[in-house]
């Protein structure tokens, strides 16, 4: 499965370029999105995220 997955991913990344779409690895770039806090939850663009998600997505609690 892992082999097939990485094969898929390599094929996919090549195909992304061919399709004129952004490469996935680069997609977690910081974005100027408002972050709303509700207790331990953070809401960004409607998504309920954890503090760790914010870090992983390089979003900031504003």
């Amino acid at each position: 499965m892992t082999g097939r997955r990485s094969f898929l991913k390599t094929t996919a990344l090549a195909a992304l370029a061919a399709a004129g779409l952004p490469a996935l690895g680069a997609s977690a770039a910081p974005a100027p999105l408002p972050v709303r806090r509700f207790g331990e939850a953070f809401v960004v663009n409607g998504w309920i995220l954890t503090a760790r998600d914010l870090e992983a997505l390089r979003l900031h609690d504003t």
Binding site: R4, N45, I48, D53
Partner: protein, 510 residues
């Protein structure tokens, strides 16, 4: 024996019965069978026929006030078997804490507990053709103080009570089932405390009607009709029967059903999962009971894209979760391939499965006396006043909804299931907007309109389902629920019907 009350066959109802049951849906049929097995003579009086008819269904038409709700003649069916003719068959019993009074929920609390209904669990499961008698809930992936996983069991195919028990009733000597027998009045003795006869008629214009006499009478006409019948029974008491404290029809509860939003899953997910809060959570956050539903997207039929684009779609699926989440959070139009997509090339058409889905919530509605079934000025073909349903949600509902959604979001993250996106109106507490957008509706469950309480100032029926102030009039069905809980109602309706059967067996026959 099955007879048509629209014909001369009504003479078969001249002799007094032990019990007269009004309405042959799941509650009425279950009660009739239970009483017949104890040797009681039962008149089972059904307003509709063996099949749907527009004329009978029209008697269910009514008006809505407040939040947008389904048309009242579309949320139930008026013929043998009642709404079981279109129910979905999802079953779950109420939890023990649903019966307890909760300080943050005014009016809450049943006079009976789960232990009073447990003895009927196995028999109800058999009637509904569920396998096994109890509900072993599966464990959560990771321990949580706030949530537990729950299971619904399905009556599959959903049991259509009219069809399922037609032959048994036709062959029964104990049950006389009358079709086209619409209850139009209940007559009381001079003390106004004992029902002496129930009056019925068919839909023929000049039908003078006929009376059925019994030792006890049980209304099993559904959660909207039971109060309607009591409010319309004004030939001797202007406010209606059982309405001495102006409670009949009040406390109407639905299970508000709310589409929360889309979900992106960490792993491929192709099931339906239910979660519910723990009793500690309900107390800590002072909210009502609810369940959270997680559903995988169904594979959609679509035109295949060009190969590179299909590969791009699939790439989103196989990418690590953080990348997929980032794509979604910062705005991404790609979604996973369905079974017409590239995956089929590589995986040779496996089961439909996906990385996306949606979440929904169904919750217990707050008891509010202003949510009610009341009489409208308009009359139906039988001359009975139609109903207006006042349905609104209040601050406790709002707090429940918002708390449930936010904690659900965190639960999905804590359990490693995925992340959920909520629609704006939920965070803005704007029910009207959600209702207008079609994201918030009911679940076709009509409860608490003749609620159970030992105190006649807090409820219409007592713990035995007997209408306060009467000696021999009872109600069956979800109108007697004291609170709604979050579970689908029919399993509990059947438990209550069997329990009422035992009570009538003991008091009338025993």
């Amino acid at each position: 024996m099955i007879l048509d009350a629209g014909t001369a066959e009504r003479s078969a109802f001249a002799e007094p019965f032990d019990v007269c049951i009004i309405g042959a849906g799941p509650a009425g049929i279950t009660l009739a069978r239970r009483l017949a097995s104890a040797g009681a003579g039962v008149a089972l009086m059904e307003g509709g026929d063996l099949d749907f008819s527009n004329d009978s269904q029209d008697l269910y038409t009514g008006r809505i006030s407040g939040l947008d709700y389904f048309p009242l003649d579309a949320v139930r069916l008026r013929y043998l078997g009642g709404s079981s003719n279109h129910w979905a068959g999802a079953c779950r019993e109420l939890d023990a804490h649903d019966f307890e009074p909760r300080p943050h929920h005014p009016w809450s609390g049943w006079p009976i507990g789960k232990e009073d209904l447990d003895p009927y669990q196995g028999e109800v499961a058999r009637i509904l053709r569920l396998d096994g008698g109890n509900f072993p809930d599966p464990p959560l992936r990771r321990d949580s103080d706030d949530f537990r996983r729950i299971l619904y069991r399905d009556s599959r195919p959903p049991l259509r009570f009219g069809e399922a028990f037609h032959d048994e009733i036709a062959a029964s000597d104990a049950i006389r089932l009358a079709l086209n027998a619409n209850l139009v009045d209940l007559r009381l003795d001079d003390t106004l405390g004992t029902v002496t006869e129930a009056r019925f008629r068919s839909l023929e214009a000049d039908d003078p009607g006929f009376a059925v006499r019994a030792r006890a009478y049980v209304l099993c006409a559904g959660g909207l009709e039971n109060p309607r019948i009591l409010l319309n029974a004004r030939s001797q008491i202007p406010a209606g029967i059982g309405n001495q404290h102006d409670l009949v029809g009040r406390f109407f509860c639905e299970h508000p059903y709310m589409r929360v939003g889309e979900v992106v899953f960490e792993e491929r997910f192709f099931a339906t999962e239910y979660h519910a809060p723990t009793p500690d959570f309900l107390d800590a956050y002072e909210v009502l009971d609810f369940n959270l539903q997680l559903l995988a997207d169904r594979p959609r039929t679509r035109q295949p894209l060009s190969l590179p684009k299909e590969v791009a779609r699939e790439a989103v699926c196989v990418a690590p979760f953080t990348e997929r989440l980032a794509q979604r959070v910062v705005g991404n139009t790609l979604s996973c391939a369905d079974d017409l997509g590239l995956r089929a090339y590589f995986e040779r058409r496996e089961m439909p499965e996906d990385f996306s889905g949606f979440a929904a919530i169904q919750f217990e509605q707050a008891l509010d006396p202003s949510n009610r079934v009341r009489l409208a000025a308009e009359r139906d073909a039988l001359g009975l006043q139609r109903i207006v349903l006042d349905w609104r949600l209040d601050d406790l509902d709002r707090r429940t909804m918002r708390t449930a959604v936010l904690h659900f979001g965190m639960l999905l993250a804590d359990q490693g299931i995925g992340r959920v996106r909520v629609t704006d109106w939920i965070l803005e507490d704007d029910f009207q907007a959600g209702n207008a957008a079609g994201d918030l509706s009911g679940s076709y469950h009509h409860m608490c309109t003749t609620r159970m309480s030992d105190d006649p100032r807090r409820g219409v029926v007592d713990r035995d389902c007997r209408v306060h102030g009467t000696s021999n009039l009872y109600a069956g069905g979800s109108s007697v629920f004291a609170t709604a809980g979050h579970a689908t109602p029919t399993f509990t309706i059947l438990q209550l019907a069997l329990r009422l059967g035992d009570h009538l067996d003991e008091t009338l026959l025993g």
